[in-house]
Structures are given as structure tokens and as C-alpha cells.
């Protein structure tokens, strides 16, 4: 499948407290790398990746944001037009989890259209986890989010998280538009022409 054949471009946003591993998750997803020496994001950063799901290629424009309080006034402007928002917290830090409420209300305030929300509990490779899977699950259920736990370091769940989110967006009518206009969603398997037997 060549680059031309893209079904649509989706805007995805990653938010969450500083140091929860937003950029690491993104780097793992886009480059399949883990860089412990990744510097703290300033403002917003941006990455592109194509993803093929069920034969449909989707281009993702993923906006990675800084988690620091002072940058918060900068980032909401990027919420506009996002089809998916990934909320990240650190399983080993309770405060990053409790602060999700603030992030949620911020998204609700600034996002312009309905978005698919996903909750990602990062750093499950670490031993000193304080937020249980069940807590994350409950929070996600309460706020109608997708939920997954992941580790950017061990790559557990990272790819799956993005795939799941994109699939959900694609399945939700009215969230996205065709890029080329003429392209249709492809069916899983191509149909074989029925063979005729001659006697």
C-alpha cells in the first residue's frame, strides 16, 4: 500500500502530568525506541505516523504536550479539532492519577467536537506501582474512556493502545472525514471471483 492511499488524517493529542511518560509513549509508538534521556517537552511537539487497520491506512498527526503547569495555558489551543485524546498517568505516582480530573475538564472545556478519550496507565514495568489497574478501570468507565495499561520502556500495550483508539475513531461516524473523498473503507478480504465450471 503506497502513501497515496490514505483513508484519512486523524489528530490525536497526548496529555497528562509532567514526567508521566507522554513523549516516551509516543517515541515508542512512532520509532519503537525507548530513550531514557529524552528531554522534557517544551510547549507542544508533533509526530506523524501511518497506521494500517483492517486494510485501511490512516495517517496520525500526534500532538505531544508539556505537562508543566506553566505550559498549560499554551496547550489548550491544540485541543481544537482533535478526534482522539490520550490521557496518560504514571502508575507509580498517585498525584498524576488524581490530577486526571483537571485534565478531563480542560479537554471538555476546550475541545470543539466530541472526541474519543483513552486512559493510559504508563510505567507498569516499575515495581513500585501505587495506582491499581482496577482504579484506572473504574475511572475510565466513569468517564467513558478506553483504558489500557502500558509501558513505554518494555513496549507493553503501546502499539495496541494507539490501534485501539484509531479503530474506535474510525468506527465512530461523524468524527472524521475522508481525505480523498472517493476512497471507501476497505473490507477485510478481497472477494474472489466465483469460478464457473463448464461441463
Amino acid at each position: 500500500m503506497d502513501g497515496e492511499d490514505v483513508l484519512t488524517t486523524l489528530k490525536i493529542l497526548i496529555i497528562g502530568d509532567s514526567g508521566v511518560g507522554k513523549s516516551s509513549l509516543l517515541l515508542r509508538f512512532t520509532d519503537d525506541k525507548f530513550d531514557p534521556d529524552q528531554s522534557a517537552t517544551i510547549g507542544v511537539d508533533f509526530k506523524v505516523k501511518s497506521l494500517t487497520i483492517d486494510g485501511n491506512t490512516v495517517k496520525l498527526a500526534i500532538w505531544d504536550t508539556a505537562g508543566q503547569e506553566r505550559f498549560r495555558t499554551l496547550t489548550p489551543s491544540y485541543y481544537r479539532g482533535a478526534q482522539g485524546v490520550i490521557f496518560v498517568y504514571d502508575c507509580t505516582r498517585k498525584d498524576s492519577f488524581t490530577r486526571l480530573d483537571t485534565w478531563l475538564s480542560e479537554v471538555d472545556t476546550y475541545s470543539t467536537k466530541p472526541t474519543i478519550k483513552m486512559l493510559v496507565g504508563n510505567k507498569i514495568d516499575k515495581e513500585d506501582r501505587v495506582v491499581t489497574r482496577d482504579e484506572g478501570l473504574k475511572f475510565a468507565r466513569r468517564h467513558r474512556m478506553l483504558f489500557i495499561e502500558a509501558s513505554a520502556k518494555t513496549r507493553d500495550g503501546v502499539e495496541y493502545a494507539f490501534e485501539e483508539l484509531v479503530e474506535k475513531i474510525i468506527q465512530t461516524p461523524g468524527l472524521w472525514e475522508h481525505d480523498g473523498g472517493g476512497k471507501k473503507i476497505k473490507l477485510d478480504s478481497e472477494q474472489q471471483p466465483a469460478g464457473l465450471c463448464s461441463c
Binding site: S39, G43, V44, F46, S77, Y78, R80
Partner: protein, 1107 residues
């Protein structure tokens, strides 16, 4: 035949399948006729009608209130297309009501026979005509698709086909065929069921035959048809209904009671007026019904009639409504929408007024091709024309005057009177505290975010209301252009005089509001900063100013040093170019003031406004400045991607162009144009931030420095010198130097934290606010960011671009905390990155932006820093944007506020009218949802450079949809108000509302107590007044004679009611037919006798067993 059918219904599956198979085999060599019948058979089987259907009796009025379902299938008779349609009243799923008990009975009436005799559903208010005429709840109908069935032989063929198909399948549902011209609505039909066969026939004449113009004649006809002339009339049941029409409500009932005053309309800018120009309730139909009388009780023949409508046991009324009545809210909006189609620029319109000979040819040509106001085709011509013409044709003088005035005000005038315009501008900018935010309810707050509009009472909101009123009443698009021009001029004046805009909050642009509101918020922010600066400057002593000027000398260079970042090669390139840019135009620093001066002059003269002549001159002057703006705008259309990289080159080319094109203009204006360009031109992405750091600072640091001095008097000044020498001292080595530096710009302590290497508490510094941005700027920035790509370099450039505020915060922090280190800063700024007594690994990466920025940061308190937000430049951008909007774009920008206002008005009405119009709130919600979707999805891309994407046809039709819904909701409101008014004498408000609700929700309403009830009395009074008017006009004698001839009215000296517009009768009987030994079977005659229509619908049944 008749013996077989019951068994068919008993055990349908097997038998039918066999029959079907037989038919299919026969198909191959069947005639067209047989094929046709087979098609009908198939449809009947498909729809599961091939069985004996019986259902419980109809509920009262079920034919009207129940839900009807239809199914249809195409048929073809030797290539002539027909359609077979099933009309069926939806039943509560108890279709298998029939069964054993009924089967036991010897002889049983089929469902259609029972329904025809059922008196609970006579004269249904709303039903298919066949249902109404023959009293049916279920029937099949064959209609020709193209040519009507005109010949007798074709009719017979079709009729027999229907009969055979019904027999074939054992279906006991009547089947009709439409004959003759479609408009005549003539049908013949056939029904069959075990033991009974029914024929349906119709008569349709233009005039009523004298012999049959009364019950007596109709009775005789039915008796003759049945061959039972001797049968006493006692056995015939007659239901009768007379309908009377009222078209003129008279002075008591007319709505609107007062036509909206055009003067009030034209001079009210606070909100929109509501009301309609004509009555949305056009007619009242009164039906006097006698549900049941036996034939022998009625005296109604060619000489006498005992039908007295005032004594009829049942009175019911129905109302007719006009959908196209002009209502004001919709009128405002649709007229406003016309502007959205205009192509002209503001200048085109302002100059069109009074062309000057020295204008360039382009404008003259524009003018020639410019359609005159009067010939402009309106969007809703029919609506408005009908509304106005109806009003005009009304005999009432004041109505005519009103309509004339409205039409004159809205069509004739092409410009606002200067004094009016002045008042409007004054009103828009007025500081009325009560009206602005007090009116904003909680709902309102939500609403303006939802619709992406502006708060009620805000400047933006007021402007929108004024614009829509001006457009309607003061000369359409020309007036709008005038208003806009005056508005922008006033804004310029406010900026120049550093007067904050009233009725708009001083806060960063709220991205949830409309772009226009954001722009105005932005402008207000700029004005606020400017005024702050100027207030400080005003109180400053001249001496201090001189001192600061001396200090400046060394500052700019340092600024530049700092902004050159050696680690990023491509960034340097840009830096360099900016530097070059800056150096190449050193003289431009003062130029923007030149432009201001031109603007200010215009304002001064404008505000005086001695007359049109003067105004025109101002226009010219203004235009010349604006022309250069427009050119830049055009230049900017070049793809921004290339511009991004070669912005420096393009800039120069564009400047040359400007100079060439502006040959004629004076040197002053030339310079002004250039500098406007300089400030308004959106720099390339990388340049943008850099320019904030260096160029703009250079241009305006004079003011900065002034304010600094005043903000921090003596102490700060003496302090600033050592701080400069300290910049190199990054690592805390020289303690003595730190002690020299005095802390500045502290906000408060950061908890109990203490500096790591000093015994001092850690202070949070006062920081610069982030630069406010409007959504289009943000979008553009995002675009720039994404264009940098997702490479590592791109990432670094992005971070660098966004590090301005980080740097500023670091400098402020250093100033507030002498002797601090990066660790201290991180503990405040990003506490996560300070773990276990040291920086997190990611902060310790050598050369990362946090470290490098920290090392380049000097201790400078926020008030002494260069501005992150260049308000002068931003204010120019906003004004440039506003100046260059076209009227069509202005309309688009203002529409959300206008829709918001109408919606608020409708909502207010809906709470008032809730008791009688409960359907309005949901309708308002629907409008709100649609409008919200529409305005939220409106793309603002490109608006920074005034490159609007105008509405696509799809968007436009969505807008019109919303407006149509608003018009409909408004029409409903006016209907309700009209009815409330008409029936206001009914008593308590509660009672009136209940009755009005009843009227609005039902097609026909029965009056309590008939003619003598309270409701009946009001209706009677309306008729009476109307009769009195008619009598005054007509010759009463002629009137009486006609009445006698019709024989429909008793002699009345003062007739309350007019002649009935129509008389309907249903005559029923159970009689043995065709012979005396037959069973009693149902017969039914429906007749309608109207002025120009005589229609009979007759169903006669025969006992097929005993004849």
C-alpha cells in the same frame, strides 16, 4: 367460491402455496390481463393480506389520531405502469382478533362492513379521502402512474382485475381503482368476503342537482338504488355536518393587533423586535355536526329545512395557518443573509455612494456592473413580497402605512443618516453596565459558547444587533458597509487614545467564542497594555526618562546576542535573516506612527461628520492607505510554505511592488503602507518568535523602558547595572557578586522551599503572561509546527520557538532569587524533575534546551524584560483584519451572534408560551444543536491573512436550514399569540392557554357546550361581526333569496352564520339486498354538497349466498 374461501383463511399456508405455484406455471403463456392479476395476487400475498382479517371496533376518532402506514408496489398492465398501494391504520398488535368465536356465527359482517356502519369515526378531521368517504381503516388502491384511466372499458377491466385478485387470494380488504383525471379524485372499488360482496361507486359533479341538494333527495336516491323505495326512512341513519368559513377576524380578532412600528424597528438597536406583519391564522372553519338522526326525523327538502346550526349538538372548529407570513426575526435574518452573497469589498460599497471622477477606472466599471438595490434578487422574495403585499392590500389605513414605511425604510434608503450612524456607534461603544453582563443568564453563558458567539450585551453582540438592524432598516449592504467603516474607525480611535473598549472583558481571547469576539478581546488586551504603559509614562518625571535613554544604549545588543543560538544551524540561518531584515529597515521604527496619524485624522473628521462630502474625502484618504494593505493581502496568497522559507526574499519583493504601485501616493503614505506591511505581515514561522525577541523589542523598547523605570523606581535602576555584569556568572562561584544583586520581581514564597545554595527562601517570581492568541493565529502556528515535520531537527526548532516564555520565566526567577541554580528553578517549575536531591536524568542531558536556556538567561524581573507580547503589532493586526473584511465576510462573522439573539428571544417566548406551546422548547433545542454544529465546524483557517474560505454550498444550505427552522419556530409563536389574542375573552389565562394548546395540537377541536358554550360564543361573535360587515356591503335582499334557493338555511332575520361552505351527509342502513330473502347487509352513502362540488360516495353490498 364462497365455500372455499373460509377454508383458505383457516389454513392459509399450504393452499396458497399451491395456488401460487399454479399461477407461476401459468405465467409463461398468460395474457397481459392474467399477468396483471397475478402481480396483484403476489402483492397481496407478500403483504399477508390473503386471509380473513377481523379487528376490534375502532376507537373514537381513531381514523384521525391513529398512525397510518402505507406500502406500495409497482404494477404493469401491458407496459402501462400502475401502482398498488396499501393504506392501513396501524393497529395495536392484536391482529388475530378473529378466530373461533366469530367463526361459529352463521353470518358475519366483514371488517369493512362494520367500519362503514360504525358511527364513532364520522367526518374524520384528517384521513385519506377514501377512508373519509367510505369509512374504511384499511384499503388497497390501484393508481395509474402516467395517464389517467378515462375509458369505460379500461375501467371495467381494472375493476374486474381487482375483484378477481381479491377472490383468488381470499383477501377481504376493499380494493379501489382511480379513474378519470387525478384532480377529480374519483375511485371505484370492490370488496368481497364470505357471503358478501360490496361495490363502491362515486359521483362527482360541479353543481349540485336540485333534486339531490337535500337529505330528502339523497334518501330517495339511496332507496331507489337499493330497490327499496317503500322502506320507511326510520331505518336510515343520517349523520350531517355543515361547515362554515370565517376569513376575516374583524378588529377584535385580528393579529397582529398592531403592526410593528417601522420607526421603532429602525431605531431599536438594543435587541431584535418580534412580531409578524400578517396574521398567521388565516381561516376558521366551524363544523356543526348532527351525529345521529333517523331519516324520518329530518325535514330537509327543496322548500324547507330544520337544520339549525346554532342548535347542532356538536360544534367543532379547525384553523388554517399561513406558513409564509413574514415574521420579524426571520425577516431580519433572511435580509441579513442576502449580504453573504455580495462580492464587493467595503471600499466598493463606500465609493459606490457618490463616485468621484478621479477614481480609477476599475471602480467605475465595478459601479456599472453593480446591481442596483432595487433589482437585487432577494433570497426570500416570495415570503417578503407576499407578506408586504398582503398587508398593503389590507383596507386598514395604519396597516398600509406601516407596510409602506417598512418597505420604504428597508428598500429605499441606501445609507444611514449621519446622526443616526453617530448614535449607533455611540450606543455600541457605550458603557451601559446594566445591559451588558446582567442580562447574561447561565443559559446565555452556555449558549454563546455553544454557538461560538459572544456574551449577551458584549460589544460584539451589540455590534451584531446593530448590523442586522441597519441592514434591514437603513439601507442594506451599503448601510452595513458604512456602519463597519465607522466601527473600525472608532476602534482605531480607541486604540490611539488608549481607551479600553467597554462591554468587553480584558482577558485573553476566549477560544470558545466567535472569531470576531476573540479579535476584539485581543484588541482590548492590546489597548489595556498600551494604556497601562502610557499611564505609567504620564506619571514619570522627564528626568528619569532621560536617564533611561542613556541606559538603553547597551541593551539591544545584548538582546541580540542572547537570541542567537549556536547549536541549531537552520535556526541560525533564520536568525541571520531577521537580523538582516532588521538592519535593512532601521528607519521604519517610527513609521507605524505615520499610519496612526492618517487614521487619526480620519477619525477626527469622521466624528465631526459635517456631511457626505466630507465623509467621502475621508474615505479616499483612508482608502489609499488601505489599498496598500489589500495588496499585501493579495501577495500573501502565495503558498505559505514557500514563504516560510524565503520570507525575507518575498518581503523585499513585495515591498518593491508596493513602492511601484504606490507611485502616486505621497511619500508619507508610502512609508505608512510599508510599515503596515511590516507589522501586519505575518512573519515566517521561525522568524515569528525570533522577531518577538529581537525586532519588535528594538522597535518599541523605548516605551518598555519608560514603564520599567516607573514600575521600579530608584532601587531597580541602580540594581540593573550589576545584574548585567552578572550574566556570565551562571555557576554560583562568586558569592560576593550574588550578594550585590538585589532580588526583584518576587510574587510570593514557594511554600517552605529554600534555595539549595543560599539560605534564602525560594520565591515565585512575577512572570509575564503568555502572549494571548486568537484561534486563527493558533491554528496557523499549529500549521507551522506541523510543517516542520516530525524529525529531530523539527522537534528542536519547535521547542526553541516555544522557549520564549521559558526563558522569560527563567530570567524572572533568577531576578527574584539571587544565587539560585537550575535545580531551584526546576523545583518550582517542574517539581517532578527534581528527585532525591538532584535533577532528573532528563534535565541533566548535556545541551538540552532547559540547560542552555538557563545558561543564557540573565536575572531580569518581568517588568524589565522585553515584551513577549507585542501589543502594538497585534493591535495593528486586528485592525488590519477588520478593515479588510468584505461585507459578505462581516455577515458571516456576525451571524452567530444574530442567531444567538433570535434563539434567546425564541427561548424567552417559549417559556411564556409553555402552557400552550410545549413543542417549542424542543424545537429551540433542535435549532440550537444544528446552529452549534454549524458554527463550531466553521473553518477559520486563513483568516489571519483575510483569506476567507467562504461558505460552501453545503454550509450555506445548512445556514439556511437553521434560518428556516427559526422562521418556523417564530411562526409557531405568532400562531400561539394570535390564538391567545383571539380567544382571550375565554376567561382565565389558564383556560385560554389550555384551549389554544388544544387548537394547536389537534387538527380539529370540539367546542365545549357547542354553540352555547363559552368557546362557541366567541366563535359566534366572530361570525356575527363578519356577517354584519357583509350585510353592510351587500344588498340584504339578494342575500336572502340565495339562501332560500339553496334551501340550506332557515329564515333568519339576523343570520349569525353565513351560508355553509359545505354540507356533508352520511346515510347508512342495514337492508336486505339484492332480494327480500337475502341477509341484511350494510349500505352507506356519503355526500358532500358544496358551492362548486357535488360528490357522492356509495357502497352497496349484496348477499352472495341468497339472491
Amino acid at each position: 367460491m364462497s365455500d372455499e374461501n373460509p377454508s383458505t383463511s383457516k389454513d392459509p399456508p399450504t393452499e396458497i402455496q399451491e395456488e401460487e405455484v399454479f399461477e407461476i406455471i401459468d405465467f409463461t403463456n398468460a395474457s397481459d390481463w392474467e399477468k396483471f392479476i397475478a402481480q396483484i395476487d403476489e402483492a397481496i400475498i407478500d403483504w399477508h393480506l390473503n386471509r380473513y382479517i377481523n379487528l376490534p371496533p375502532l376507537q373514537k376518532n381513531e381514523l384521525t389520531s391513529g398512525e397510518w402506514i402505507t406500502k406500495s408496489t409497482p404494477l404493469s398492465f401491458s407496459n402501462v405502469p400502475f401502482t398498488l398501494t396499501l393504506h392501513q391504520l396501524k393497529q395495536l398488535e392484536n391482529e388475530h382478533f378473529e378466530d373461533s368465536t366469530n367463526q361459529d356465527e352463521e353470518f358475519q359482517l366483514p371488517l369493512y362492513g362494520k367500519d362503514a356502519m360504525d358511527r364513532t369515526n364520522d367526518f374524520p378531521a384528517r384521513a385519506h379521502c377514501l377512508s373519509r368517504w367510505f369509512g374504511l381503516r384499511c384499503f388497497l388502491l390501484i393508481t395509474p402512474d402516467t395517464d389517467p384511466v378515462m375509458s369505460k372499458s379500461k375501467l371495467n377491466l381494472l375493476r374486474s382485475s381487482a375483484a378477481i385478485a381479491l377472490n383468488n387470494t381470499g383477501c377481504n380488504i376493499p380494493m379501489f381503482v382511480q379513474i378519470q383525471e387525478f384532480w377529480r379524485r374519483l375511485y371505484v372499488g370492490h370488496a368481497t368476503s364470505p357471503g358478501i360482496m360490496t361495490k363502491y361507486d362515486m359521483v362527482h359533479l360541479k353543481r349540485c342537482p336540485v333534486d339531490h341538494a337535500h337529505v330528502h333527495g339523497l334518501l330517495y336516491m339511496l332507496k331507489a338504488k337499493l330497490g327499496l323505495v317503500a322502506m320507511p326512512s326510520l331505518h336510515y341513519q343520517v349523520a350531517s355536518r355543515f361547515t362554515y368559513m370565517l376569513k376575516d377576524w374583524g378588529s377584535n380578532g385580528r393579529w397582529p393587533a398592531k403592526i410593528p412600528d417601522p420607526e421603532a424597528l429602525a431605531s431599536n438597536f438594543n435587541t431584535l423586535l418580534t412580531g409578524c406583519l400578517d396574521d398567521p391564522v388565516t381561516e376558521l372553519h366551524l363544523a356543526a355536526t348532527w351525529p345521529y338522526r333517523t331519516g324520518d326525523m329530518i325535514i330537509d327538502n327543496d322548500v324547507h329545512s330544520d337544520y339549525d346550526p346554532l342548535k347542532a349538538p356538536r360544534w367543532s372548529i379547525r384553523l388554517l395557518y399561513a406558513d409564509d407570513v413574514t415574521c420579524l426575526l426571520a425577516y431580519y435574518l433572511f435580509e441579513f443573509m442576502k449580504t453573504a452573497d455580495r462580492r464587493e469589498t467595503l471600499q466598493d460599497l463606500l465609493h459606490y455612494q457618490e463616485p468621484k471622477p478621479e477614481q480609477d477606472i476599475g471602480n467605475v466599471l465595478d459601479r456599472l456592473s453593480d446591481p442596483n438595490t432595487k433589482t437585487v434578487i432577494p433570497i426570500v422574495p416570495k415570503k417578503l413580497a407576499s407578506g408586504i403585499s398582503k398587508v398593503v392590500s389590507n383596507p386598514q389605513n395604519f396597516l398600509r402605512r406601516g407596510a409602506y414605511a417598512i418597505s420604504r425604510i428597508s428598500k429605499g434608503v441606501e445609507r444611514i443618516r449621519p446622526d443616526v450612524l453617530k448614535d449607533i456607534i455611540k450606543f455600541i461603544f457605550s458603557d451601559s453596565e446594566e445591559s451588558s453582563y446582567a442580562t447574561e443568564s447561565r443559559d446565555g453563558t452556555l449558549l454563546h459558547h455553544k454557538l461560538k458567539a459572544a456574551p449577551v450585551g458584549s460589544l460584539t453582540h451589540r455590534l451584531a444587533i446593530c448590523a442586522i438592524v441597519v441592514n434591514l432598516c437603513h439601507g442594506g449592504v451599503w448601510a452595513l458597509a458604512q456602519l463597519w467603516h465607522a466601527f473600525v474607525t472608532e476602534l482605531r480611535q480607541m486604540l490611539d487614545s488608549a481607551t479600553n473598549l467597554s462591554a468587553i472583558d480584558i482577558s485573553p481571547p476566549d477560544l470558545r467564542t466567535s472569531l470576531l469576539h476573540q479579535k476584539l478581546q485581543m484588541l482590548n488586551c492590546c489597548i489595556f497594555r498600551k494604556s497601562e504603559r502610557e499611564t505609567k509614562a504620564a506619571t514619570a518625571a522627564a528626568q528619569e526618562m532621560e536617564e533611561t535613554i542613556l541606559e538603553q544604549a547597551s541593551n539591544p545588543d545584548e538582546v541580540l546576542d542572547m537570541s542567537v543560538e549556536l547549536t541549531k544551524p537552520d535556526y541560525i540561518e533564520d536568525e541571520g535573516s531577521i537580523e538582516g531584515n532588521k538592519l535593512s529597515k532601521p528607519s521604519e521604527v517610527q513609521k507605524p506612527d505615520g499610519l496612526f496619524a492618517v487614521g487619526a485624522e480620519a477619525v477626527e473628521e469622521d466624528s465631526g461628520w459635517p456631511g457626505f462630502e466630507d465623509e467621502l474625502e475621508i474615505d479616499d484618504e483612508e482608502l489609499e492607505v488601505e489599498t496598500s494593505d489589500t495588496e499585501q493581502h493579495e501577495n500573501k496568497i502565495e503558498p505559505s510554505a514557500t514563504q516560510e522559507l524565503t520570507s525575507q526574499d518575498t518581503n523585499e519583493v513585495q515591498m518593491e511592488k508596493n513602492q511601484v504601485e504606490n507611485v502616486e501616493s505621497s511619500p508619507d503614505e508610502d512609508g505608512g503602507g510599508k510599515s503596515t506591511f511590516d507589522t501586519d505581515e505575518d512573519p515566517g514561522p521561525r522568524q515569528k518568535i525570533a522577531s518577538l525577541q529581537s525586532e519588535s523589542d528594538d522597535e518599541f523598547f523605548e516605551c518598555e523602558e519608560e514603564s520599567d523605570d516607573i514600575a521600579v523606581p530608584e532601587v531597580a535602576k541602580t540594581k540593573s547595572k550589576p545584574s548585567k555584569t552578572d550574566t556570565q556568572a551562571e555557576i554560583a562561584a562568586n558569592k560576593s557578586k550574588f550578594l550585590q544583586q538585589e532580588a526583584a520581581g518576587r510574587l510570593n514564597q514557594c511554600g517552605t522551599l529554600k534555595l539549595l545554595y543560599e539560605d534564602e527562601p525560594l520565591y515565585i517570581p512575577i512572570t509575564q503572561e503568555h502572549a494571548p492568541q486568537t484561534e486563527d493565529q493558533l491554528e496557523e502556528q499549529a500549521e507551522v509546527f506541523s510543517k516542520l515535520g516530525d524529525t529531530l531537527e523539527g522537534s528542536q526548532v519547535r521547542a526553541k520557538m516555544q522557549s520564549t516564555s521559558l526563558l522569560s520565566d527563567m530570567e524572572a526567577f533568577k531576578a527574584a532569587n539571587p544565587g539560585c541554580v537550575l535545580e531551584d528553578f526546576v523545583r518550582w517549575y517542574s517539581p517532578r524533575d527534581f528527585e532525591e536531591g538532584c535533577l532528573s536524568p532528563r534535565m541533566r542531558i548535556p545541551g538540552n534546551l532547559w540547560v542552555t536556556t538557563w545558561s543564557s538567561a540573565r536575572p531580569v524581573p518581568a517588568h524589565r524584560q522585553k515584551r513577549i507580547f507585542d501589543d502594538t503589532k497585534e493591535a495593528e493586526k486586528v485592525l488590519h483584519f477588520l478593515t479588510n473584511l468584505k461585507p459578505a465576510e462581516i455577515t458571516q462573522m456576525l451571524l452567530p451572534m444574530c442567531v444567538q439573539e433570535t434563539l434567546l428571544i425564541l427561548r424567552a417566548s417559549s417559556s411564556n408560551l409553555l402552557p400552550c406551546l410545549p413543542s417549542l422548547p424542543p424545537l429551540c433545542n433542535q435549532i440550537e444543536t444544528r446552529a452549534s454544529q454549524l458554527f463550531q465546524s466553521w473553518k477559520m483557517a486563513g483568516s489571519v491573512a483575510n483569506q476567507f474560505v467562504s461558505w460552501s454550498p453545503d454550509e450555506k444550505s445548512k445556514v439556511e436550514d437553521v434560518l428556516r427552522q427559526i422562521a418556523f419556530a417564530e411562526n409557531l409563536v405568532e400562531r400561539a399569540r394570535s390564538l391567545q389574542h383571539k380567544f382571550s375573552s375565554l376567561g382565565e389565562v389558564k383556560v385560554v392557554n389550555a384551549f389554544v394548546r388544544n387548537l394547536l395540537e389537534h387538527p380539529e377541536v370540539e367546542l365545549d357546550g357547542g354553540a352555547n358554550g363559552k368557546q362557541g360564543k366567541i366563535v359566534r361573535d366572530f361570525f356575527k361581526a363578519d356577517q354584519a360587515r357583509q350585510h353592510a356591503i351587500n344588498n340584504p335582499q339578494t342575500n336572502n333569496m340565495e339562501t332560500n334557493a339553496e334551501g340550506s338555511k332557515p329564515h333568519l332575520t339576523t343570520p349569525v352564520l353565513p351560508k355553509p361552505a359545505g354540507r356533508e351527509f352520511i346515510i347508512r342502513t342495514m337492508a336486505k339486498h339484492p332480494s327480500r330473502i337475502s341477509h341484511e347487509v350494510p349500505h352507506r352513502l356519503y355526500a358532500v354538497l358544496a358551492q362548486s362540488e357535488f360528490r357522492l360516495a356509495l357502497s352497496v353490498s349484496s348477499d352472495t349466498t341468497f339472491f
